[in-house]
């Protein structure tokens, strides 16, 4: 795993050095944002979730043991934050992007994208998390198991079931040679 935490930076962050913490955090913001965007499918909510997760990580940095991986630890916090964000949206906000009327046929790729995002939304959260981590962040199953605090077998099972449900909802084409 490529994001092992630098022990010096971890020690510095635990002593309260913001620079050390931000150095640890900087390379993780892109995968964190992509994870949140994939889970929430909303840029603003994703930004808020990552920001909140960063604050929580800063508060909990003392829990990070030296020598452990920073990326799965932080992405786990982001995943939790996404769950909290979804739960807290009790008011049922529905955002509609009003598309201008068009005389052209809709772009087939765009339509497939909408269908796929809808299918992802219909997955159970724990399945969607594994699918997003595996297919969108291209993470290995071992690291996903660490992020989700689940066994390797459990992660593999969620991924398998997630793909099966996606297939039921969405036709997956063959990759072009």
């Amino acid at each position: 795993m490529e994001h092992a935490a630098d022990p010096d930076l971890v020690r510095g962050a635990k002593r309260g050095a913001e620079e050390a913490f931000t150095s640890l955090l900087r390379p993780l913001l892109e995968p964190a944002y992509r994870l949140a965007a994939g889970m929430l499918q909303d840029r603003q909510l994703a930004e808020d979730a990552v920001q909140e997760a960063a604050v929580k990580a800063w508060r909990r940095i003392h829990q990070l043991r030296e020598g452990t991986e920073m990326r799965p630890w932080f992405l786990g916090i982001v995943a939790n934050e996404c769950r909290t964000t979804r739960r807290s949206r009790w008011w049922g906000l529905l955002t509609i992007k009003a598309e201008p009327p068009s005389v052209e046929a809709p772009d087939e790729a765009a339509v497939r994208g909408i269908d796929l995002r809808s299918a992802l939304k219909r997955l159970r959260p724990e399945q969607r998390l594994v699918v997003v981590l595996y297919f969108y962040l291209d993470l290995p199953l071992e690291e996903i198991a660490t992020i989700t605090n689940a066994s390797f077998a459990a992660v593999r099972g969620r991924l398998y079931r997630g793909i099966r449900e996606l297939k039921a909802d969405f036709t997956i084409s063959e990759a072009q040679a």
Binding site: G16, E18, F21, T22, L25, R26, L29, E30, Y33, R34, A37, G38, Q41, D42, R43, Q44, A46, E47, V50, Q51, A54, V55, W58, R59, I61, H62, W90, W91, G92, L93, L94, T95, I96, K97, A98, P100, A109, A110, R112, G113, I114, L116, R117, L120, V131, V132, F135, Y136, D138, I163, L166, I172, S173, E174, A175
Partner: protein, 470 residues
């Protein structure tokens, strides 16, 4: 393997379309990472223990001294900046409907003294609060908000009769009115007339062919454009200083288009032209939809629907800078904050305080609250934009909730034993006016919550005539 690769590619494409490039997040994160945000566990445990200990001691003392009611902490909402308003802007004007004399408008000053009465159907108030406007007998009557005396009557050329929908320009210089005549049928086109209030004369009129009951919206410092929005049509008219000319007409899909109400259609004017001068934002009290409409391209550009138990009773209140819309549901205390620039709901919360019946909103579905024909204005924002005063509990006591807008925290409550329906804050921010009960009682409060006066009003009171800022 092929299917897995294909799915990976498609998921990347589908989610990249949502996420875009990664925004610069670190600067915002660094801003909130001050040392106080992080606590060592031992210190945190000690702090919790200390707080609990103090809480036990304080709780014991409070319990020992407890009588019938907890006195709320004193909260002062004085404006942080001096607000310059027009003469008479600190005076509240409330409309009542009487059996023998029709509409009567009463002016009350910050000391609780009645300063004037107007026997006319006043609908609009200038943005600076200094003038009141009533349309009757083919003319626009202009009244002083200082004492209610009639300053002038501006004759209308085309609009006559009592069926009309008027609106001011954002700066208050122009007044547009769409109206019929005594012989006009609702299905016939209604004329549009434009009045220059600074010169006191009607400057142009046209029969636009728009449906009856369309709402006029004026845009531009010289009223360069007037839009008539209603039914399934939006008409765009150009004004060159002398004549009105139809520039464009477009069909407005009734279920997915723009819906604007008039000045009395909701508990607050439900639309606003944003500072860019070309975006109209409107709240629809039927379905709770907020619509952004591009006045140049003549099309809806964005919509947000905030699910509410009953949007009809929601008060749409705009911030003084026009960049934020507060949707306050008086019966439940729900408050939705819509950022009009970012086009998103940034926060939904509850601002009602204790003692409210959480199922009170059900009552509105069964029995229409008796607000005498007017929709209660259950929220008002202070002119410095720092405070929102929220009232309304479907007849139950609740007083005024004081919401500090920078953090949306409820900081206190005034007169919690009183059932209130509508609230208005004076243009200088120093006086809060409240309609209590069925609207037949006016209370006047200072910004420290102290009550200055309590007056009886005619029974059927519509509500406040606040500055009209479209």
């Amino acid at each position: 393997v092929n299917q897995e690769d294909s799915l990976r590619t498609e998921i990347h494409q589908a989610l990249d379309a949502i996420s875009g490039s990664t925004p610069e997040l670190l600067p915002q994160i660094v801003q909130v990472l001050h040392p106080g945000t992080r606590r060592q566990p031992v210190r945190a445990v000690a702090q919790v223990a200390a707080v609990l200990g103090i809480g036990l001691v304080v709780g014991g003392v409070v319990f020992a001294l407890h009588r019938s009611r907890v006195t709320p902490a004193a909260v002062t909402t004085s404006p942080t900046t001096l607000v310059v308003a027009g003469p008479g802007a600190d005076i509240a004007w409330v409309t009542s409907q009487t059996v023998d004399r029709g509409d009567v408008v009463i002016g009350v000053d910050p000391t609780g003294r009645v300063v004037g009465r107007i026997s006319a159907p006043v609908e609009l108030r200038s943005p600076d609060g200094a003038h009141l406007y009533a349309i009757a007998d083919g003319g626009v009557d202009v009244y002083s908000a200082v004492d209610g005396h009639k300053e002038q009557t501006i004759r209308l050329q085309s609009v006559s009769g009592n069926a009309h929908i008027p609106m001011l320009s954002p700066d208050g210089r122009y007044l547009a009115v769409v109206g019929g005549s005594p012989t006009t049928l609702p299905t016939m086109p209604w004329p549009l007339e434009l009045v220059d209030l600074s010169t006191g004369r009607s400057v142009a009129s046209i029969t636009v062919g728009s449906p009856a009951y369309g709402t006029p919206v004026i845009a531009g410092a010289q009223a360069q454009h007037v839009y008539v929005i209603g039914g399934n049509t939006i008409a765009k008219l150009a004004f060159d200083g002398a004549t009105l000319r139809v520039e464009q007409r477009t069909t407005n899909p009734p279920c997915n288009g723009l819906s604007v109400g008039g000045v009395n259609s909701a508990g607050g004017l439900p639309f606003r032209v944003l500072a860019d001068g070309q975006t109209l934002v409107a709240f629809c009290p039927i379905d709770g939809r907020v619509t952004w409409f591009d006045l140049v391209r003549m099309r809806v550009t964005h919509e947000v629907v905030v699910s509410q138990k009953n949007p009809f009773w929601v008060s749409p209140i705009f911030s003084p800078d026009g960049n934020t819309l507060y949707l306050h549901e008086g019966g439940t205390g729900a408050l939705h904050v819509v950022d009009l620039v970012r086009q998103t709901v940034v926060r939904s919360t509850k601002v009602a305080m204790a003692d409210q019946n959480q199922l009170a909103w059900l009552g509105s579905l069964l029995v229409t609250p008796a607000y005498a024909g007017g929709i209660p204005r259950t929220a008002a924002v202070s002119p410095d934009g720092n405070w929102l005063y929220g009232v309304g509990a479907f007849g139950a006591p609740g007083g005024v909730s004081l919401v500090h807008l920078p953090d949306l925290g409820v900081k206190g409550r005034w007169i919690p034993d009183v059932s209130l329906g509508s609230v208005s804050v004076s243009a200088d921010g120093l006086t809060i006016y409240l309609l209590a009960g069925d609207g037949n009682e006016l209370r006047v409060l200072r910004t420290d919550g102290s009550q200055v006066a309590k007056l009886s009003l005619p029974a059927n009171t519509y509500g406040f005539i606040v500055p009209t800022i479209p």
